[in-house]
C-alpha cells in the first residue's frame, strides 16, 4: 500500500538548501514508490511596486525566468530520479504550490523550512503559508 503516491517539491533553487530538500524528497519518493515533481515559484517583481512597471523590470523578470528554467533543468538532472513534472511559474509561492499539487493530484507537498523565530514568524514563512489551505499533507524539511 502506498501512503503517498505523488510528491510535489517546492524549491527556491538556492544551491545548498534546495539540494538538501530535493535529495531527501528523492529518498522519500523511492521509499514510497511515488512520483516526484518539482516546482520553482518566482514571486512577481511587480508585487513590490505600487505604480506602473518600468520596461527594464519586465525584462529583469523575463531574465529571471530564463535563468530559473535553466537552473531547474540542471538541478533535475542531478537528482538521479525520474522527475514527472518540473516547472517554473510566476506567482505567490504558497498559492502556486497548493494549486499545482491539486492539478497534479500530488498527495504530499514538500518544502524547506528554516525554523526561524521572530520576524519570520510574524511575516509567515513559505512552509506555514503552504499549510493554510493545502488540500493534502505538507512536509517541512528543516534546512
Amino acid at each position: 500500500m502506498s501512503i503517498y503516491t505523488h510528491l510535489l517539491v517546492g524549491l527556491d533553487l538556492s544551491p545548498e538548501e534546495s539540494l538538501q530538500v530535493a535529495r531527501k524528497a528523492v529518498e522519500l519518493a523511492r521509499l514510497h514508490g511515488a512520483k516526484l515533481s518539482l516546482i520553482h515559484v518566482i514571486e512577481p517583481v511587480t508585487f513590490a511596486y505600487a505604480g506602473d512597471i518600468p520596461m527594464d523590470l519586465t525584462e529583469t523578470q523575463l531574465a529571471l525566468e530564463e535563468q530559473a528554467d535553466k537552473r531547474l533543468a540542471s538541478f533535475t538532472q542531478q537528482l538521479g530520479y525520474d522527475v514527472s513534472h518540473s516547472k517554473v511559474v510566476i506567482g505567490q509561492t504558497a498559492a502556486e504550490l497548493r494549486e499545482t499539487a491539486a492539478d497534479l493530484g500530488a498527495d504530499l507537498i514538500i518544502v524547506g523550512s528554516h525554523g526561524r523565530h521572530g520576524l519570520a514568524l510574524l511575516l509567515g514563512s513559505t512552509a506555514s503559508d503552504v499549510l493554510h489551505g493545502a488540500k493534502c499533507d505538507v512536509l517541512a524539511i528543516r534546512v
Copy 2:
C-alpha cells in the same frame, strides 16, 4: 537506510481526527521502520486568566489531566503498534512538541492540520507554530 528513525505524534485526542493522524503515523512508522511516540499537550487553564487561579480551576485541570491520561492510554492500545513513549504534558503545544522531540531524539514531528484560512491563519495553528523553531522535520497531516 532509514530516513526517519523516531516519529513523535502530537494528538489533540479528538475521536476522529486524532485517530486519522495516528493511523497515518503508524503506517509511516512501519514504512520507515521507525519508533513511534505520542504526546498530548494540555494548554494550562491559567493561560486564559489574568488574576488568581480559583481552586476549582486547579481541580478542573487535574481532572482534565486524569481524563487525558486515560484517553491516551486507550488510544495507544488501539493502534496496533509498539509505542515507545506516550505522555500527557501541560504547557504550550508547539513548545512541548519541539522540546519532547529534542529529548527523545525524534527526527519527525507529526501533527494534524485543518488547512484553515482566515482567523486561524492570523492566530496561528499548532502546525505552523511547531514549524517555527523545530530542529527536525515536521509533517502536517490534513484532517
